[in-house]
Amino acid sequence: MKPFLAQLKFDGRRLILRNFSFQFFSILMPAGFYLLFTKVMVSGTVPVSFSLQYMASMIVYSGTINALFGIALILMHDREKGLLQWYQLTPLGVQPYYLSVGFWSMVMNGIAIVVLGMLAVVVNHVSLTLGQWLAVAGVALIGQIPTLLMGVAISFLNRPETLSIVSNLITFPMAIVSGLWWPMSMLPSWLQPIGKLMPTYFVNNWLGAVATHATLKTTNIIGVSAWIGVLLVLVILETRQLLKRGDGVVKA
């Protein structure tokens, strides 16, 4: 247990406390968007259902940014700089490292839920029961798994420059077409069916339904599960390919 706690302390410092990118892009930016679109750029009072739905959207957006920019880059960086190799050669291996990164990525999402939830309560006076908040947190954490797997999948790319381009190409189009930034009805009609296939669309709808007491649609749960299945297979195949290619092994 002691090694795992030490690993958590180590990763907590670098992934959260001293990680300005996370603090800015995954917390401050979604919080700023939330205030902008529910308080600043609106006239009159925003309906509570919109405040809740947009809170859900920004929680999903924060998780997406965190997974595709933050976690993907950290995994690539750790592999490129030899940290992963160092773990591989120690008696405990890579398990504590992966468990710790997985734990902190969930905590990162948890922080986003707390910050955006508090904003929704304080600024827009939304009110949810404890059970609903717990359900929001649970769905948000499960819903982060597809984007987290996407982050892991693209972390296997060879160069940080390529990773940056790919992250941008996935995150922002996916956020826009799946209705995280503004309602899907504002998108061209040909784009809407594509948006409805995105993992963030399924998670956003699922989370929104939990937050606004709407009826839960099984299609959202099936959609998230299908994405988890597909991405899990992709990550497994990539890992096998990586081991076969011999990347990450010692260079002399």
Partner: protein, 293 residues
Amino acid sequence: MQPIIQAEHVSFSYGEQAILKDINLTINPGEIIGLIGKNGAGKTTLLNLLLGVRAKKSGHLTLFDQVPGGPLAKRNIGSMLQGDLPIRGITVVELLTMAATHYPTALQPKQLMADLALTELAQRQLTTLSGGQLRRVTFALALIGNPKLLFLDEPTVGMDTNAQQAFWARVKALKELGKTVIITSHYLPEIEQVADRILLLQDGRFIFQGTLAELQQQYQQVEISFQTSLALTTFEALGGVTAVSQVNQVVQITSTDGDRTLQALVPYLSQLRQVTINRESLATIFVHLTKEA
């Protein structure tokens, strides 16, 4: 004495391409081994097999009487590889403190930092360190588990002269403590300075295994130069001489058997002035050998 590493007829290949061929090797506790070879000779693959990152295709290979990569082997190995872990958002002491928890008999990070003159860098973030400073931290990371066997790969790259000297002094001290050290480096004067035994790898085979003295005995050419009024033909027939030349007044003899040639020169000593003898360095022998192979 139980060997730390034992390899018998070990080979490794990628598909049809043989990388290591019939490697036989015994490394005992307390030895400092210099593993040298040109790029592509098979050093990387051998290191990967020893660290348990890759598996041999045939033969028998053990570390601490175990298959490489096993728990006991990992507990007893420290490695200073080419990456320097410039991890963002982490200080030197935080890295070493975390690393210590990965080993059952780890050293105290603060004591280790004091021993390696890293105390003043303890609170510095890794990303703010120079290349040489990072290398020293990587050395500390290799030692933190109190290993019995240490792999050092191009260990002094980026270090200044003082740091290099301190580093090699520390490596010699480790030997006194009974640690075994395997050094891979292209900077051969360093290997020459510390290695008890040299393993020269060429095209996946060891073409030499032995001490530097044995290597010099076996392969070294000696250059003897002096001024004399004697004719060049006097020296051509001397034992071991392979070439005689004269530039201005200086005669230069190249010999493959320095001892024999010097004995043969004794009768002429009174007629020789300003005698100099140059023995070839490991680097020069390495170039000769790897050219021949």
